[in-house]
């Protein structure tokens, strides 16, 4: 295949006209023509980032590592979370970029990366005990030696030592390289650097030594674990800096992934389990038996695997793409999958319970793992091996009625529907979450892909479309080509042209994709759906564009202008059908309805089914 691809190179025999090209270059240099600016990286949802940024400014405009009163002015409502089965407590945190957490006894520390906020949470009371502003981007957090160790890529890589008693960073240790995983072993913190070596730092902040290899997350069998970049084998790293007491034969060629692909390790049942974070085809949980030195495949999970820990006799893994907590029996390999009420970012054990941080919405939840958690329904179809996008269909279909399609948007990918999907599947409906595993796409492409996937997976119509935010565009295009549509539910739909309007209003924040001509994309969609049942779930303007944070950040005039544009868009959507109705998701919006009020979405879908 690679050889054929090389032969397919359309330019392999192409020669530049050197003289003419050089002439053009000289002409441009000589004329001092203004430079073409480099393409602006696409910023998804600039208004969301803007609001988060203003929230951050308001929240953390204080000196380094001083306690702050409020973590975020844009903390979402957590009504939906608290009501979720198995959730014993939901702690609102600063929203955006929860990437680092660790726990000791009954204290949990969470670093919210985008807002540079460090928070101390009592696992006993479920309350935020303290909030600190950290003047650095922190991507890792380790507790050890009575201190917190904050891992930052700033200034060429550094480790910040944080004293929880004083509530301050009291030492900055340059590590001169890009830091990766970090762990505590013995009396030192060990930090991976440049994926090439591991540095050992004493509690006094001195770099004691370095050992070759790339550190993995977690620990097991009394060791940290590193992969050797030369051999791609994983070996143990002892407290005495001894490498290779145990070497795991993770070489390529086995069914399992190579050492460099292993993300985290955990010990259970006297064996070491190794998680491959991003290996979509095949096994991504492997096992090493120290007694027999055998290494092999253990379980195939899903995409976007984040964390692996042992608790209560089971292995627990989070999936950031599917929004799942997966429980695995380390003996039998039996799996149970629990939809999480948000996008997970971190997983720790504290106060004899599992705690998960949710990237969206910004929250920390305590799970009762012995309770009756929602069990995902049987999988009807999962086409992940055939498309770059994914169609995950669940449910028995016993309830009859149309197949419910959950259509993605930029920030509401298929995992974002996990709770809604599980609940509706539980009602006996077949529910398909549609979404892209990676890569950019367009509404037209999404609509075509959905049609193709439904055909290939043989998912029967009629269909009820549920689309969120800018997923409404692809839903309208799909509707235009479908003759067996039972209805549409639009969740917080984004008006056509809103992104361009927003960019014009606030050009400094412009980030719309220049390659996407939305008018052309939507030219085949319908402006009149006849009397097709339609429900529009609208965001609460007072919670979004007219909220205090937005008004303070952009000014009242701009805020009202943005809201007026949005309202006109909603009126357009309501007018698509003569059989439409609308409800307002009080207190929420801006991509957050599915997180804050999943019950409302479920209720409206069921209502439309009854109509």
């Amino acid at each position: 295949m690679i050889e054929l691809l090389e032969r397919a190179d359309p330019a392999k025999d192409l020669d530049a006209d050197r003289g003419r090209l050089r002439g053009k270059v000289d002409e441009r240099i000589g004329l001092s023509a203004p430079l073409r600016p480099p393409a602006i990286a696409r910023i998804r949802k600039p208004w969301l980032i803007a609001v988060a940024s203003f929230a951050a400014v308001i929240a953390v405009a204080v000196p380094v590592a001083l306690r702050t009163d409020s973590p975020s002015v844009f903390a979402p409502s957590l009504d939906g979370l608290a009501a979720h089965p198995g959730v014993q407590a939901a702690v609102p945190l600063a929203s955006g970029g929860l990437q680092a957490m660790d726990a000791e006894d009954d204290t949990i520390w969470v670093m919210t990366t985008l807002q540079n906020v460090l928070q101390e949470v009592s696992a006993e009371s479920g309350e935020v005990e303290a909030t600190f502003s950290i003047d650095a981007r922190v991507e890792g957090l380790v507790i050890g030696g009575g201190r917190l160790w904050l891992i930052s890529p700033d200034n060429g890589g550094e480790v910040l030592r944080f004293d929880p008693e004083r509530g301050a960073v009291d030492l900055t240790i340059p590590v001169e390289g890009v830091p990766g995983w970090a762990g505590w072993l013995g009396d030192s913190i060990w930090v991976s650097r440049d994926q090439a070596d591991v540095i050992r730092i004493s509690t006094e902040g001195e770099i004691v030594d370095t050992v070759p290899g790339e550190l993995k997350g977690g620990e097991g069998l009394g060791y940290l674990w590193v992969s050797d970049p030369d051999t791609d084998l994983i070996s143990s790293l002892s407290e005495a800096e001894q490498l290779g007491d145990m070497v795991i034969p993770t070489e390529p060629g086995l069914e399992t992934m190579s050492g460099s692909g292993i993300r985290q390790v955990a010990e259970a049942d006297g064996r070491l389990f190794l998680l491959d974070g991003d290996h979509p085809w095949g096994t991504n949980l492997n096992v090493f038996d120290p007694d027999s030195s055998e290494f092999g495949a253990f379980a195939s999970l899903t995409f976007g695997l984040l964390d692996l820990i042992e608790f209560d006799g089971y292995l627990w893994v989070t999936s950031s793409s599917d929004h799942l907590l997966i429980r695995i029996d380390p003996t039998s390999g039996e799996q149970h999958r629990y939809p999480l009420p948000g996008k997970p970012a971190g997983l720790v054990v504290a106060d004899d319970a599992l705690w998960v941080t949710l990237y969206q919405p910004g929250a920390l939840i305590r799970l009762d793992t012995r309770a009756d958690l929602i069990e995902s329904s049987p999988i009807v179809a999962d086409d992940w091996n055939r498309f770059p996008h994914r169609l995950l269909c669940t449910g028995s279909g016993d309830a009859g009625g149309p197949t419910i399609i959950l259509q993605p948007s930029d920030w509401i990918d298929y995992g974002s529907w996990s709770v809604i999907q599980a609940e509706l599947s539980g009602e006996g409906h077949i529910v398909c979450a549609n979404g892209y595993v990676e890569g950019e796409t367009t509404p037209k492409q999404q609509a075509a892909d959905l049609e193709e996937a439904l055909t290939e997976a043989d998912i029967p119509g009629p269909y009820l479309l549920v689309a969120a935010v800018d997923g409404v565009h692809s839903a309208r295009l799909f509707a235009a080509g479908a003759d067996d549509l039972a209805g549409i539910v639009l969740v917080d739909p984004m008006p056509v042209g809103f992104q361009g309007f927003y960019d014009d209003l606030l050009p400094d924040l412009a980030g719309h994709p220049p390659w996407l001509d939305l008018d052309a994309e939507l030219s085949e969609s319908l402006d009149d759906l006849g009397d097709l049942p339609l429900t529009v779930i609208e965001q609460d303007p007072n919670a979004v564009f007219l909220s205090p944070g937005f008004v303070e950040g952009f000014g009242r005039e701009a805020a009202e202008s943005v809201d007026a544009y949005w309202q006109r868009g909603l009126a357009f959507y309501r007018g698509l059908s003569s059989s439409s109705r609308s409800v307002i998701a009080n207190g929420t919006g801006l991509d957050m309805v599915t997180w804050d009020q999943p019950d409302l979405v479920i209720e409206q879908v069921l209502e439309l089914l009854r109509r």
Binding site: A8, A16, D17, R22, L35, R386, P388, E440, W515
Partner: protein, 185 residues
């Protein structure tokens, strides 16, 4: 700093730029042609070297220069590429399929299917495969151009190749199926 790079820095900017141009113009031109088609490649390549001239002092030393130059090309082409994507696909396909010297029709069919399969991949997958197989960049260079870690290059390339093969196999089986219908010309 190596002896060679120290020497290079003492050379006048014009001479340094000449070296850079001579060593890389062909590769950069082909890079642009693969993504924009032949007609726009020259202008895009000229833009790349114009940026290089203006940022000559920012340029890294030694082997990293090539990756730096490709990263500039990646940015320059990016803006044009997206708006002209369909046209460029057409032009690069035409350049390939109208090769009068191609005597191996079966191979030509495979290549046509492969290019169709490539077109169907995500933009990221396409770019990874092109950088690796067509532009001949190393994993380190690809990581620099795309701004990702080297390990991620390996993993993503692995996945991109798998996806390419899946799409190619599907096209291949459709083509060989007796129920396959030819699209009228």
């Amino acid at each position: 700093m190596s002896e060679r790079s120290a020497l290079e820095l003492t050379e006048p900017p014009g001479v340094r730029f000449d070296h850079l141009f001579e060593a890389n113009y062909s590769a950069i031109y082909r890079y642009c042609a693969r993504r924009l088609g032949r007609s726009d490649a020259e202008d895009a390549a000229a833009d790349v070297f114009t940026v290089a001239w203006r940022r000559l002092d920012d340029m890294p030393e030694g082997d990293a220069r090539r990756a730096w130059l490709f990263a500039v090309a990646h940015h320059v082409v990016g803006g044009q590429y997206r708006s002209r994507e369909r046209r460029s696909r057409l032009s690069t396909r035409l350049e390939q399929t109208t090769d009068p010297n191609n005597e191996h029709l079966e191979l030509a069919g495979d290549i046509d299917n492969l290019l169709t399969a490539l077109d169907g991949l995500s933009r990221t997958d396409q770019e990874l495969l092109r950088l690796s197989s067509w532009d001949g960049l190393t994993r380190t260079e690809i990581a620099h151009v795309l701004g990702i870690k080297e390990n991620a290059v390996d993993q993503r390339l692995h996945r991109a190749r798998n996806r390419l093969k899946l799409r190619f196999d599907r096209l291949d089986s459709e083509a060989s199926s007796p129920t396959h219908k030819e699209t009228p010309a």
